[in-house]
């Protein structure tokens, strides 16, 4: 756009020109306020997606349980236990478990070990961007009560205060057999219709957000990352 059509408000001179909030003069001569950093902000609240009734829900739960797509996201030392899971020796593919590269494609997030505050922010962003229904597996004692990092200044103690957890796998670290058992437990839970973590999260969104904002001091993202 031509430079003389643009007026910069004085306060955000520290940003690069393409990211600045500015007033652009439109074709009719009207003023249009453009704020590139807020372009993808959606402030709408999410709605719970209630389960369907009867045999349809049972069929869908069976389909969900037999095809778990796991987000490739490692947070702590536990992420080193995930690659052997996919090797021929343990072969998680035979249980319908596959790894996916992005949150939009996956239905399971594994929190593999200790979680620092900086990583928790990325976990929340990834978890909220996943499509319903979504499930959380918490690996290792660090996610249960803090583990050996229980008195650290920068790692959380209880994961279930920040995102809803479906299955905990205890151990420091759990072996791949334990993780396979955890996947089977998760499948059983989903087939019983108890895999409603995403809806619980939305119903108790205020409580979860209060807990998250208590420790993430520089909250610079939308309340819900669509």
């Amino acid at each position: 756009m031509p430079e003389d059509n643009v007026k910069y408000p004085a306060e955000d001179q520290s940003l690069s020109p393409v990211n600045r909030k500015r007033v652009v003069i439109g074709p009719e001569g009207e003023d249009i306020l453009v704020d590139p950093l807020r372009d993808y902000y959606c402030t709408a609240r999410p709605e719970p997606e209630l389960p369907r009734q009867g045999i349809i829900e049972k069929f869908m739960n069976w389909a969900r349980a037999e095809s778990l797509w796991v987000l490739g996201f490692g947070t702590g030392c536990g992420s080193i236990e995930i690659p052997p899971l996919l090797s021929p020796r343990y072969d998680a593919y035979r249980f319908g478990v596959a790894m996916r590269p992005t949150p939009r494609q996956s239905s399971v997030i594994i929190i593999s070990g200790y979680l620092s505050v900086k990583t928790l922010k990325r976990v929340i962003r990834s978890y909220e961007q996943m499509q319903n229904p979504k499930f959380v597996i918490a690996l290792g004692s660090c996610t249960i009560n803090g583990g050996m990092y229980w008195d650290s200044y920068n790692t959380i103690n209880r994961l279930d205060h920040y995102i809803p957890v479906d299955v905990y796998i205890a151990g420091c670290m759990p072996r791949p057999e334990a993780i396979l058992a955890g996947f089977n437990k998760l499948k059983q839970r989903i087939k019983e219709g108890r895999g409603e973590g995403a809806n619980d999260y939305i119903k108790n969104l205020d409580w979860y957000k209060a807990n998250q904002k208590k420790i993430i001091k520089d909250w610079n993202m939308p309340d819900y990352n669509w």
Partner: protein
């Protein structure tokens, strides 16, 4: 090595010389001599590799120890240069112009200990702790257990034992 040490002792007031093993020596120099010494070592003695720099909090003596670890790849020798600075807001000279990666160490020390390095690039930006608003957590007056209990929702029912007293009770219950 001996000649090098003699030159350092004569020119830069090095003291507390501690030979750890073959080709690894630690010593202490006063704060104003650190930058000339490192310059000299890099330019004339072949110590062209900065392995790391780190800080130690000696709260009893009210001072920080800063350690620079330099390496000479040709003679395979390491030098550990220690210096002491005051704990209360006294800064240290930046060496980012000698090695670019020193800026990252300095940024981390600024965040974890609150040691200022004036002029070091991006030294005031958060490194690991985003939005930290307490005193720097590696200073020893920071009570990490208290902070964790107040902040991170400890799960009730956790039982911890002091290893010494626990084993004493277990092995010698009658004492």
């Amino acid at each position: 090595m001996e000649q090098l040490l003699d030159r350092i002792i004569a020119g830069f007031e090095a003291a507390d010389i501690e030979k750890r093993k073959d080709g690894q020596v630690f010593f202490t120099v006063p704060k104003p001599k650190v930058l000339p010494l490192i310059n000299h070592l890099k330019m004339f003695e072949g110590f062209r590799n900065l392995i790391l720099m780190t800080a130690v909090d000696w709260i009893e003596d009210n001072q920080f120890q800063i350690t620079y670890l330099l390496n000479n790849p040709d003679t395979k020798t390491d030098l550990g240069i220690r210096t002491f600075i005051g704990r209360d807001g006294e800064g240290m000279d930046s060496i980012h112009e000698l090695w670019g990666h020193a800026a990252t160490f300095q940024r981390e020390m600024k965040e974890m200990f609150g040691i200022g390095f004036p002029g070091s690039p991006r030294v005031d930006e958060p490194f690991l702790l985003e939005g930290w608003d307490d005193i720097p957590p590696m200073r020893r007056e920071f009570d990490t257990k208290k902070y964790s209990e107040e902040t991170y929702f400890p799960r009730p029912g956790r039982e911890t034992h002091d290893p010494a007293t626990y084993m004493k009770q277990k092995l010698y219950p009658n004492d």
